[in-house]
Amino acid sequence: MNVDSDSDISISDYEETENTVSRSKAKGKGKATDKRKKDKAKRKPKDVQAYTWEANFTRSWETVQEDEGGSLQGAVNDWVARGRRKRLLEPQNAIRRTIIRHMVLIVDLSTSMMDRDMRPTRFALTLQYAREFVLEWFDQNPLGQMAVVGMRAGVGERVCDMSGNPQDVLKSISDRHKLEPTGEPSLQNSIEMARNSMNHLPTHSSREILIIFGSLTTCDPGNIHDTLDQCVQNRIRISIVALAAEMKICRDLCDKTGGQFGVAMNEGHFKDLLFELVPPPAQRALPRSSNAGGGGPGGGGSSTNPASDLMVMGFPTRLPDTSPPSLCVCHSELRSKGFLCPRCLAKICDVPTDCDICGLMIVSSPHLARSYHHLFPVKPYAAVASFDAVADVSSSPSCHACSKPFPTTVSQNVADGMSAIGRYRCPDCNTDFCSDCDVFVHDVIHCCPGCGK
């Protein structure tokens, strides 16, 4: 509710100060200003670390501590321990996430991207990270679709159409010569272009815009706040990763639409900011009330809860390459491989799609299953502190999963959250695992080998 009231006030505030758009500090009055100041004060401590251009030359290798034997094991253990603690802090119950996602990736292709404050250049690094991002994003959001828009020479330029195939998207951003940066960027033009391409999408899918923004200016034909209001109405979530510095309008775009905003301090932080957007966003608890309060009339377009729906889906049978050729319903061509619609048995070339004959949504069930580990996470394993907690050492001499023998001695100087005897216990099946398997089970398999859940 807090979010809604905040946005209400800020919108009215904007109507007053519309003509002061280009200034980075909008002069609000009364309550709204106080609120924003509070927000700023809250944000400040997060950005304590110096930006790249302010930092001294750091010797990153000196922060790694060798132990007396000259080994780096201690540093590695710290790293593992940090990951463990982070996992323990995560909420246990399943949160609601939108899984059918649509994203437009807007890449700044203005001259400011040629700056060399990130190695080799901002542009080259952005393309490299964008490729990794696309791969990871499609891996975790297999039902998602992505489009790419470039901001170059004052216009938005369509680099790749909305596509569910990661290879299409990768191909479009693989050739750097086609994307050579020139001119000024235009936030409004590119956001409008992205918004128009997402207008027709079903309401139960998420619509997101991710902007990688290197410039400190934007060159817009009209009032960008109108665009922002329309994005709020169309429930488009805008997230921005800025490479230079924070701009007021960027922060507003993200705050009002519920997206994330971050300024990359260095190469590693840039990647972290980008990859934070890979997992499906948690859905707001009460989409309906927020629609009525913040978005105004016509926000979702329908009277029922637009954020959720029950969909009928069919899981097809795949025909082998060697089956006798027959006509497909989508191209009317003779093909041997294809998928059979489970309801009308029409032959379709590719999934996911809608059946041309009976209109059934046809998806391959592995596509759906890829996201299930978000719903049923493995419980975190508890670190076993000492041998007293192990009932019978001889009955479990080795890791339950990989059969690696456990250490028989208590190791000294263990980090917080780590086990001194290298055992991690599942709370359900009470079997012990080694630290490697602990990491592997929680990060990759998402299924406990002891209880099979």
Binding site: S308, L310, L345, D436, F440, I445, C447, C451, G452
Partner: protein, 371 residues
Amino acid sequence: MDGSHLSVVVDLSPSQWHLSSLQNQPYPLDLSSFISQLLAFLNAHIASRHENSLAVFGAFPGKSVLLYSSADPPTETPPSDANSFPAFRLVNSTIMHNIVQHLEALDDSSDEEAPSALVGALTKALCYINRLTLEFNASTANANATEGLEPLTLSDPRVLILSVSPDQTASYIPVMNSIFSAQKLKVTIDACQIYGSETVFLQQAAHLTGGSYIYLERRDALLQYLTMAFLPPPSIRQTISVPTQDKIDFRAACFCHKNIVDVGFVCSVCLSIFCQPVPVCSTCRTKFPIKTLQRLNAARPSLPLTSASQSRNPSVSSTPQKTNGRSSATPSRPVETPLGPGGLPHSGSINAHNINGAAHHGVQNGLGSSG
């Protein structure tokens, strides 16, 4: 790396093996002759290359056990025998000893046998491969760093699943999760269904990881299938012709009754699958609009039919073992499985045992209901 790693997951469910050995089967195969053929295959794998490594996991009812691994071989070696190669003898005696030990330790007090822990065995096999990969990387990382090479990964790790149990629909999500982690580890999963009905999940596992799935029709020729199809490592399979799957069934199990469905109702928020329209998603507690429910219910067949099919569903799901056991006692049964009054093209009418016939039913029903 030269050698290839093979992890074998063996399904050792006593009741299924008993059914498989009955004389009224077309090609009966009992557990002891299966194990002797399996051991011959394992010996062939070890013998084909000195560097080859091996791990064997057993899936017993309710628990999964590592039977043998070449990374940590047993300490006490069996007495040598003039007529056998010591390496083979070590593998054979260790595996036999462990199988006998765990089969005897099985608790046969209860009437119903717990489903075999195939998922546990599969995840253990993956953890084991992960451990080998880590160890291998640690041993070669230094050498490669000096030469400026990328750290290598194990070449051709693979998992072979020898299953006799039908699909356990309750373990749909864990199986899919292990398949995706196998993809990440670049592990090939081969599957061989020795007895019983075709399994949807193993078909998908083999398809998604690039392995081959074989449904064994001539059980007496098991060893031949094993050596011809599963002995060559995946890198060689490009050049030889390995039997591929006929068709792949991409059906999923619903979350509510654990039925295998071909047309399901999916929550748009969390993608949970249900076999009938539900007002509230059981996973994420999302409430669905009434209009959608009415529309979907209206699209389904009229009331007496749905109630009949719904009353059938729980009975099917609660005793999957029995249903499959009975039906597979006559595997050559023609496809005119009784459809019952609720002859829907929907989930309820299609049980695990008539996968082959499913397409035909779909035709008849699809035409019948639409026309």
